[in-house]
Amino acid sequence: MDKAEWLKENKYWILDGGMGTMLQSLGLQAGERPELLAITNPQLLRRVHHEYLEAGAEIIYANTFGASAHKLEGSGYQPEQLIVAAVELAKEEARPYGAKVALDIGPLGELLEPNGTLDFEEAVSEFARMVNAAKDLADLVVIETMTDLQEARAALLAVKENSTLPVFVSMSFEENGRTFTGCSVEAFAACIGGMGADALGINCSLGPVQILPLTERLCKSAPEGTKVFVKANAGLPDPATGEYHLSPDDFAAQMQPYFSIGISAAGGCCGTTPQHIAILANELKNQIPASRQTQKRSLLCSAISVVDAEDVVAVGERINPTGKKRFQQALRQKDMDYILSQAVEQTDAGAQMLDVNVGLPDIDEPEMMEQTVKALQTITEVPLQLDSTNPKALERGLRVYCGKALVNSVNGEEASLKAILPLCKKYGAAVIGLALDENGIPPTAEGRVEVAKRIVQAAAEYGIPAHDVYIDCLTLTASAQQEGALETLKALSRCKQELGVRTVLGVSNISFGLPCREYLNTTFLTMALYAGLDLAIINPNIAAMMAAMRAYRVLCCKDLQSAQYIESYGSINTASTTPVAKAGTMGLFAAIEKGLKAEAAQAAVEELQNKEPLEIVNTILIPALDAVGNGFEKGTVFLPQLLQSAGAAQAAFEYLKKAMEQQGEGNSNRGKIVIATVKGDIHDIGKNIVRVILENYGYDVTDLGRDVPPEKVVQAVKETGAELVGLSALMTTTLPSMKETIFQIRQQKLPCKIMVGGAVLTPEYAADMGADFYAKDAKHSADIAKEVFGQ
């Protein structure tokens, strides 16, 4: 039997009110763990449930909000004990009323990556423990008071993967319509709604008046068929006492406007009592919920940033190894910094989304996809388009992606549809459908529309609506199939008009094999936009392409009063768009000493005209760094200056490295070093400084990042054969994990030296942990490297 059948009834569902409020009024002290009451004082919980049921609540939340392993740490209780007890007693109370009981899941209390350090899968398995404890007892699951979209996703996945129970999800927003971690109402609706929550809601944080406009937004953006619910606080708390003052009558009055916007369930949160719920229940008894005016919006999002394909969207195409040697090298060397620099460059240029393709035949693409998506999320908030033909890679990427992604792509082949559409459904992603199938690309527009129809139909069978399907009618190369350009645009217009889908094109392919590609690309882009293109996959670093997008938005009245156009180009003097200042008089040594980046880069380029790169490194760059380093040791140069010098040397080094690579003289490498900030610690500035300085001295540094588990350090040392490892920890609480990392390296008998550094370390403590060196600062770490590698 469908466990969600009861939910289909067209009626208002009355939810209960504040649990914490009631327990505190009955004597629970602030800071005590209410979850323990299921065992220590079940009568108290029964009493609260009973009062809400009497008041008219039809769905009550079992007292399991914080019954996760994380939150119960140190309490002496296991989640299973408390959850079974809490749900069972709630069921017993609910039975005479025919009411439903929800397993209540709240936040774990620790932020997930990338905002925090908790691993996504660890969160999923903690939530899964809660679900498994209650799945045969509860009638539904409620995930509530979430402020981190990634955590809400983890909880929802745990419910979906471990039970068939219906699930409600509610998040807490501030008045600006965002949660503390920046998640907007629309991102919540698009992501969690897309993943198949039965109901979406807003709870806590604010009173009915403040939540109303947010709920209106939720009603507009929640997917069709999803219920919307609300559990507001009894007004805003008194800042000094934390108490709530909105009376039951006023609460009910303030809830009135909600009943015309399309919500189907309501209750209360902090400060609300059975009296509040009784009035609400009385009001809604026998009423039918107003229908919700859903808009079929094509939203794609990260937690923070939402794009609506109703407006034209520029998708950056540069994270892709096809035909790019440097990018391929980055993938093989797992050089995440290079990949991230491609993201920063494109978003700075105006890309609103990024295509992510990390496929190479000789790398582990699924692993790389996961790592890349995770890394991108730490530095950019634009939504991602995951680009692969490998379903495993897509799944790994989708699983950790926080938001509603776009999958690139399926095609009309049965096998492709079967492999990829279920993934899109499970993770709530939208999908690109290529208008081709086993017979290739149909030559005519008619043929491509037919394929598109099949894709839309297949998507619908998996529950993916047409407005989440983006058809790619395929750009053919004008040099080979000249008549193809117009055929593509014809197909694009028809798909959009006839199928209710969105459209997407990789634009740059049009000009392949012809000179001055930019002319063809911008013209084709403009034509395609006018034909109805929604997502343009382009190189945003080419100014003319972004200009075409921005100009189009002006001429189609999407950029009102040309505001964004003026913002982008208002200060540009078109006569001087190519700056490249030729200062040139300052030598490289002086530029590094003074910490001037642009001058150092310029000077390096000049030096390269007469000298070999390696000679420049040895005779200018390193002596300059040494001079600054000595000044630092003497106290005449201060850390900010040392860092600016390091930055200048870094800028020069980029050019020198390139020259060495071109000459096949890639051997500036003085030795391999692995560095990391240890598990549990997220302070990485010191470690980053060490990396830059070591790199400037010509060492090949593998930077594992922050919060790095010991096993990962061991693995990296094995893989790279590094002779020196640098570990950083700032806190006393993370020193044990430094010690553990050293222990594991030693246990594996890896032939490397270990240096450690960080605020609370001392030479004695370093020796005690078994480190070979204590580095008091970044300069010192370079001295240690010299000692280890010689010269």
């Binding site: 800071g31 908790l118 910490g595 900010p640 860092l643 390091a646 006393t732 001392t762």
Partner: protein
């Protein structure tokens, strides 16, 4: 509660946070770096703060308690001497600045400056909240300066209790990770004692401090409790 962002963070203070001794005039390039950092931080900060007041008592083992939270160590004992109540406060600059920091991580000079400016902003927000709490005192009540876990011998693990008892995740988005680190990272929790006789509190001396051998304040004959 929402705290007010200052219009700017003084470059002099950012430079001091970056390790410039107070008697040394920074070079113009470093000043401009500090100003750039101030802008990045103020443009991305989402300041929040909360506080709660409750009575202090001594349990059977002789430990000072605030609700069910033990306040351990000699330093906090001295700090709260003569106090009957205490206010726990917490401030954060939010998660967005952290993303900016990660984005500029390759530029070590700038990220060091932004890190310093972000730390400075957290302190300024704590000053602001502390002043607000001060205003709420009854007539005849006196309040100590603030004292944070991790200073002296007051265990950093106390953060965990504070986060739970003040319900900071729900109230302001502040959490603590398995290593006892507050997340968002640029956040402060602190306790101020309240008494009906004039009290100042006593911040940790250098005796218990782990940083005593490398502290730049100590080298200048000052300590971190002095502003």
């Amino acid at each position: 509660m929402q705290l007010q962002l200052p219009n700017e963070l003084p470059w002099q203070e950012i430079c001091s946070w970056m390790g410039y001794p107070s008697h040394q005039q920074p070079d113009p390039q470093t000043i401009s770096l500090a100003q750039q950092a101030s802008k990045i931080v103020l443009d991305s900060a989402q300041p929040r703060g909360i506080f709660q007041r409750d009575g202090l008592y001594t349990n059977e083992q002789g430990t000072i308690m605030w609700r069910q939270m033990p306040l351990l160590g000699e330093d906090i004992d001295l700090h709260l001497k003569h106090c009957t109540h205490a206010v726990w406060m917490a401030v954060t600059i939010g998660t967005k600045t952290e993303m900016q920091l990660r984005r500029i991580a390759k530029d070590v000079a700038l990220s060091y400056a932004v890190d310093a400016a972000a730390g400075l902003l957290a302190e300024k927000l704590a000053d602001q909240l502390q002043a607000f709490v001060q205003e709420q005192l009854q007539q005849g009540e006196y309040m100590t300066i603030r004292y944070s876990p991790g200073y002296g011998d007051f265990p950093i693990e106390t953060q965990r209790d504070v986060v739970r008892m003040l319900d900071t995740q729900k109230q302001m988005g502040l959490t603590v990770n398995s290593g006892g680190i507050l997340i968002p990272r640029k956040s402060i929790t602190a306790i101020c004692g309240i008494s009906n006789q004039p009290v100042k509190g006593r911040l940790a001396g250098c005796n218990h401090c782990l940083l005593r051998e490398k502290c730049k304040y100590r080298k200048e004959g000052k300590y971190c409790g002095q502003s």
